[in-house]
């Protein structure tokens, strides 16, 4: 169903707001390969939302260039550009006077699709984001916050844009709903393979969601741009180290699932040993071991049968890599 | 109906050439008739307005307490207000005549009614504008219901109350000009009087009109200053 993703390049982009001395964004350069889930994270005042809105030209930049698949975004009209970019914001911004179905079908309608096609696409998308067919006839005011954000996502995906911009989309949701939507967005991203730029101030969310993370500091200066694992292993400077927290080793362990590791073979007698699922993270496994006072743990596969043993030392070794 | 015992009309026999030609504005006439026509009308107008707004404010304030205490009176008061709102002032003055006669009381009753329509909803909105978390915090600090009302809700309502007063004062000044259809009182009277003539005397219309508009703008300015003094935290204009 995907029309593919697009590569996005920030090339020394600088933005200054009139009336303010400090730049909101200073010479930002990022290469975001097609299909990457890129998270912009940083403290408020780091210019991450500014950077995001430059891409669909809701804000204009002063210097540098932004290219999508090699083409400068300045070459297109704003309308043309934006039709090819899905946009999701924290407060969703659903049109309260339109039904859910009409909200999702807005861009296809602007693009002149026929009724049948719009209807089919809407149904497909609602299912994709986990809403029911009957929801299409309801109004935004009748939905919960989480449901509304699902609609926002469906609406952004409607015309199958290669790029998706998300500005703190889960910021206003309760932790449980947020967690569920985070998981689903990860799954969805694997399914539809878009280039996503996702803004958040929550480092946990960044680590959970991102293929790559760009950490911005005050004044819109790029502090580090790398994979979550690399950032946690080698923070570029004290600012990044402080921002990702002193428990970064544990956060790093949380990136690894037990099933992905080279486990040691099962010992002959393994009855009394601690057990954890292969889908659990190394972080959880270490926690269990510390709690029980043991130094190894049996990993069980999806069927419940043990597949190997994780010694505590393996976790330590993992962090040295 | 225009009452007949009005102030001095321009005496064309001994008037200046400006008055005789009915030019746009004759300062000499305005100066000569300030004391017998314009000033009395202005004074009456201020009196009509002040009494109406004063009584209207007192009643609205009382109604506000009632509505605060008993929520279900809001709806009936609102409906009565909405109905009253659609009654044209010209008609209301006449409709009150069978009850209170062709008197100042009739004029005041009508004017008070219009101020209520404006003041009460504004006051109630103001009283309800206190954010729920602020009220929770006040309750959490152990303030009693009446303490919350007087120390939190009413102070926070001040900007809305003054905004309501601004509208009420300006409207009352405007509507009071129509009282001249009933009584020879206020700034409307010189205007109606001039309009009786097939060739309406321009200076009189402009002078009285300017005084009415000036009075309204002056009162509005004074209330804006008052609000700034009473509620320095409310920076943005609410009107």
């Amino acid at each position: 169903m995907s029309s593919g993703a697009a590569e996005i390049v920030f090339d020394h982009v600088t933005k200054r707001y009139s009336g303010r001395d400090a730049a909101a964004l200073s010479e930002l350069s990022l290469d975001i390969p097609a299909g990457t889930f890129c998270v912009l994270v940083g403290p408020s005042g780091g210019g991450k939302t500014t950077a995001l809105k430059l891409v669909n030209r809701l804000i204009s930049f002063d210097e540098g260039d932004i290219r999508i698949d090699g083409r400068s975004i300045l070459e297109l009209s704003t309308v043309e550009l934006r039709r090819g970019i899905g946009y999701v914001i924290q407060n969703v911004g659903l049109f309260p006077h339109l039904t859910i179905g009409e909200n999702v079908g807005t861009v296809p309608k602007l693009l002149g699709w026929d009724k049948k096609r719009i209807q089919a696409r809407t149904a497909e998308l609602l299912e994709l984001v986990g809403l029911e067919e009957g929801d299409a006839k309801r109004y935004p005011a009748q939905l919960s916050g989480g449901q509304r954000q699902r609609v926002g996502l469906a609406r952004a995906l409607a015309a199958d844009p290669p790029v998706l911009l998300m500005d703190e989309p889960f910021g206003a949701l309760d932790p449980i709903t947020r967690h569920r939507l985070q998981q689903e967005l990860r799954r969805l991203h694997k399914e539809v393979a878009k280039t996503v730029i996702f803004v958040t101030h929550d480092i946990d969310e960044a680590i959970l969601m991102g293929d790559r993370i760009a950490i911005l500091r005050n004044g819109g200066v790029l502090a580090q741009y790398d994979t979550p694992d690399a950032i946690l292993a080698h923070p570029a400077d004290d600012f990044v180290a402080e921002f990702i927290g002193e428990d970064r080793a544990l956060r790093r362990l949380a990136l690894h699932q037990l099933g992905d590791l080279e486990l040691e073979p099962l010992p002959a007698a393994s009855n009394n040993l601690l057990q954890a699922s292969a889908r659990s993270t190394v972080r959880n496994a270490v926690s269990l071991m510390l709690d029980a006072g043991t130094d190894s743990l049996v990993v069980a596969g999806d069927d419940g049968n043990p597949i190997g043993v994780l010694p505590l030392a393996l976790a330590t070794k993992l962090l040295q890599s | 109906m225009i009452a007949s015992n009005g102030p001095v009309i321009p005496n064309f026999g001994q008037a200046s050439s400006c008055v005789l030609a009915n030019r746009t504005f004759c300062w000499d006439w305005a100066r000569a008739h300030w004391h017998d026509t314009l000033w009395p009308a202005l004074e009456q107008h201020i009196e009509l307005t002040a009494i109406a707004v004063g009584i209207g404010f007192a009643i609205s304030f009382a109604l506000m307490f009632l509505a605060h205490r008993f929520n279900r009176v809001v709806q009936p008061i609102g409906i009565v207000s909405a109905l009253l709102y659609t009654v044209p002032s010209l008609a209301l003055f006449q409709l009150l005549v069978p009850f209170t006669g062709v008197t100042t009381t009739t004029v005041e009753v009508a004017l008070v009614a219009y101020t209520l329509v404006i003041l009460f909803p504004n006051m109630l909105d103001g009283l309800r504008s206190a954010p729920p978390e602020v009220l929770d915090a006040a309750r959490g600090m152990g303030l009693t219901r009446s303490q919350i009302l007087w120390r939190v809700e009413i102070p926070l309502a001040v900007p809305a109350i003054v905004s309501g007063l601004r509208i009420a004062v300006i409207s009352t000044i405007s509507i009071a000009t129509i009282a001249a259809t009933l009584l020879p009182k206020g700034l409307g009277y010189p205007i109606f009087f001039a309009l009786q003539d097939p060739q309406p005397f321009k200076t009189e219309i402009y002078a009285a009109g300017a005084l009415a508009i000036g009075l309204a703008l002056a009162c509005d300015g004074a209330l804006v200053v008052t609000r700034r003094l009473l509620a320095p935290w409310a920076v943005r204009s609410q009107s």
Binding site: A141 | M1, L83, T86, A91, P98, T100, I167, I178, Y206
Partner: protein, 236 residues
Amino acid sequence: MIVADSFHPGTFVDALRFIGNHPTFLAHKAAEQMELTLAALAIAMLIALPVGIVLGHRHRGANLAIGASIIGRALPSVVLIGAFLTVLGIGFVNNMVALAVLATGPLLTNAYLAIEGVDRDVVEAARGMGMSGAQVLRLVELPLGLPLLFTGIRIAAVTVVATAPIAAVAGGGGLGDVIVNQASYRLSGVLGAAICVMALSAGVWLALLALQRALTPSGIRVGRVPTVGKLVKEEQ
């Protein structure tokens, strides 16, 4: 306050009898008044609505748009009618212009606030998905601003209906002719006409309220109860 002295409940009976006895005359006068009202309202809408909508869409000119109704309120109808009469002469045009000026304030202010006040997130989402300025206005801002826009029209309409009788003092005709001419029609005629004016005004108010309800997109109506207080917050 000498209520008892001047209270004649019979006067109202006489007034109703007057209405019963002169239905065509009063209908003719009412029609005259409605003609003036509609003309004034149409002119005011033609000028004020586009200006208010464009200012609101651009988020510009707040002072002008809001100041319009403050100044509008400060201009007594009598003064306007009198002043325009000296320029335009007695008759329909003078009264129409004066009433149109009165209607401009609430129309302009409400049109501005209606469009300007549309949720910024919704507008940003609309722009973000590639709507042009005109599409944002037509597909998002106007439908969402419609209730408030209509409130302005309703206030303006009632203001004009309620003020139109005053135009009688400047040759405007209509029911005001009867109200300001007690010498010819006696108190019963004056009261009868006043009752008609009141009914006309209430009728216009209710009709526009019903029209507004019918035009409001149902998504906005869901889960929102307008308070009566809001409806009467503006004045005539």
